[in-house]
């Protein structure tokens, strides 16, 4: 009799340890990356590392500006493409589509989210690159290989489709039918109700979805690396190649230990990513949690 109560108590402590250990991973990762960034931070300040454009590892010069800009370009393009498409899709799925159509559409969006990043990369190389090189770029610039921030942005956009659609759909689903009925019964069309009531109510959720999508896009590595050219200069147009931070880390880990300070520089890049993504994630989770509380209470 006592044994089973003792067992419960011991297991309870054990589970507490497991829980704390796995949650503290967040802290440990941050500290680990920071500790390994110290050597480079001792040499130059955060400010110079982030704003300098000179990347000459062999001379000990590490300027992350081009990589940060590369990340921003690719992410920006992805969001600009994905947000309107996903918002419209979510509205269609939740508000307009018949149950039958919904049953067909939703599984495909889920399937899309299951496709591994490297496959998106392969698809980018096989489909998007030639598309840009032969059909899109010639209208705007004299020559492009296709490997560009635009290619990275398009591939990323497709990758974040499922994330944005599912979050916005969830938010749309929480908007009470009574509210919509109130607008409809005043003679508004469905679209007017969506425009004036639904979207306004869903706005925080849409913002949260975008913030979450941005943080997801920031960290995406392999698919972007395969299509965006990886050239350490600041891009000036969508057809220029770029070199996002994750790609920098992934491409150079091999030499990491053979050039002085290089490992520290790459860990600093990982730290930058970690901090940005941490902030964005916390912001969007807080928005979503508050929204949920408001709508359920």
């Amino acid at each position: 009799m006592q044994i089973r109560i003792l067992k419960d108590k011991i297991l309870s402590k054990l589970m507490l340890v497991f829980t704390l250990a796995s949650v503290s991973l967040l802290l440990i990762i941050g500290i680990g990356l920071y500790v390994h960034s110290i050597p480079i931070l001792e040499k130059s300040s955060w400010g110079t590392l982030v704003t300098s454009s000179i990347w000459k590892p062999l001379k000990g010069l590490f300027g992350f500006y081009p990589f940060i800009m590369g990340t921003l370009w690719v992410t920006g393009i992805a969001i600009v493409i994905a947000l309107p498409l996903c918002l419209l899709t979510a509205l269609f799925v939740v508000e307009y589509a018949h149950a039958g159509i919904r049953r067909v559409l939703v599984p495909f969006i889920n399937l899309l989210s299951g496709i591994p990043p490297v496959i998106f990369g392969v698809w980018g190389v096989l489909f998007i690159i030639p598309l840009i090189q032969n059909y899109i770029a010639p209208h705007f610039v004299e020559f492009s290989t296709g490997y560009s921030v635009l290619a990275g942005g398009i591939v990323l956009a497709v990758m974040i489709f499922p994330l944005i659609v599912s979050i916005i759909s969830e938010v749309l689903n929480t908007i009470p039918q009574e509210l919509k009925d109130a607008s409809l019964s005043l003679g508004a069309t469905k679209w007017e109700t969506i425009k004036k009531i639904v979207l306004r109510k869903a706005l925080p959720g849409i913002i949260a979805a975008v913030v979450l999508a941005i943080s997801r896009a920031f960290g995406e590595t392999i698919a972007v690396l395969m299509v965006c050219g990886n050239n350490a200069v600041v891009p000036h147009s969508v057809f220029d190649p770029g070199y996002p931070l994750p790609a920098l880390i992934a491409n150079n880990y091999g030499e990491m230990l053979s050039i002085p300070l290089y490992d520290s520089a790459l860990m600093f890049a990982a730290l930058l990513l970690f901090i940005i993504i941490l902030l964005f994630n916390i912001i969007s989770r807080l928005i979503l949690a508050r929204l949920e509380r408001k709508l359920t209470s």
Partner: protein, 281 residues
């Protein structure tokens, strides 16, 4: 009124187009991979390891990478489950009443879920350097385990949330301890655990950035945890970077293999989720 109707129609068409693009991109991707990969597909790809000169277009297959990926994803999922099940039970059944704390933990796991795999890879690399072991199957499994723990915890957490509170009360009112109640709940959510396993396995088998630093690469099938192991996504990546057309083609075929594996897993988990929610309602 006509203008208003026209506006609605316009946006309806726009929505339809958007939905077609979003869902169509799935077919575009899978279609492209099939079209390019199928011509290079053969039995050797699945049954042989790379022979001499494989990377300049000679004999061999990617069995090493298929097995390596199964090892990494399988090992990480098992290890991840051993950690996540207690965590999910703890959050749901041992923190009674302290809703703020359990919700904070959920947010923390959501945030961990958002950390990109390249960061887990870099961190896994730091752990390996710290403990002084080289890129190996074990290193890969550890890094990927970190990656899947948040997925498993949140999925299990959601599944446990679907168990009616009254069932827990029923067990408790018979004098069960919390652990005995947890066992009843685990029994109830067995299909849900299976879904979590599939989700985690699917994510683990397709991820590159976490194994890039940690698992290494090898043309042989690993025979111990301390040997480096090839993984499918990395094999695809390497073959694609080759200038030899034959090797690139096999990269496409490898991509096809990975796509099929992942699709099967996703479809299975979709079916399970459907079934599961049907039983509940």
């Amino acid at each position: 009124m006509r203008r208003r109707k026209a506006e609605e129609l316009f946006f309806k068409i726009l929505m339809l187009i958007a939905a077609i693009i979003v869902c169509g991109s799935f077919f575009l991707i899978v279609g492209t991979i099939f079209a390019k990969g199928l011509p290079y597909m053969n039995l050797d790809m699945l049954t042989k390891t790379p022979g001499g000169g494989f990377y300049i277009g000679k004999e061999g297959g990617i069995l090493n990478a298929i097995i390596g990926s199964l090892y990494v994803a399988g090992g990480a999922t098992i290890l991840g489950l051993l950690i996540s099940i207690p965590v999910a039970i703890f959050i749901n059944m041992y923190m009674n009443g302290k809703k703020f704390l359990s919700d904070s933990l959920r947010v923390a796991f959501d945030v961990l879920f958002g950390i990109p795999s390249i960061v887990y890879g870099a961190f896994g690399f730091l752990i390996m350097v710290y403990f002084g072991f080289r890129a190996s199957l074990l290193g890969g499994i550890i890094a990927v385990t970190l990656l899947v723990i948040p997925i498993l915890v949140r999925t299990l957490d959601e599944v446990i949330g679907t168990v009616p509170l009254e069932l827990r009360d029923a067990a408790l009112s018979l004098g069960a301890t919390r652990w005995e109640m947890a066992k009843v709940v685990l029994r109830q959510i067995r299909p849900g655990i299976f879904t979590a396993i599939l989700l985690s396995f699917g994510r683990a088998i397709g991820d590159v950035a976490s194994v890039l630093f940690t698992a290494g690469f090898s043309d042989n099938i690993p025979t111990s945890l301390h040997e480096p192991a090839a993984t499918l996504p990395l094999a695809i990546f390497f073959q694609l970077s080759s200038p030899v057309e034959e090797v690139q083609g096999r990269g496409y075929a490898s991509a096809l293999i990975l796509t099929i594996i992942v699709l099967v897993i996703t479809v299975l988990s979709e079916i399970l989720i459907k079934k599961f929610s049907k039983h509940k309602s």
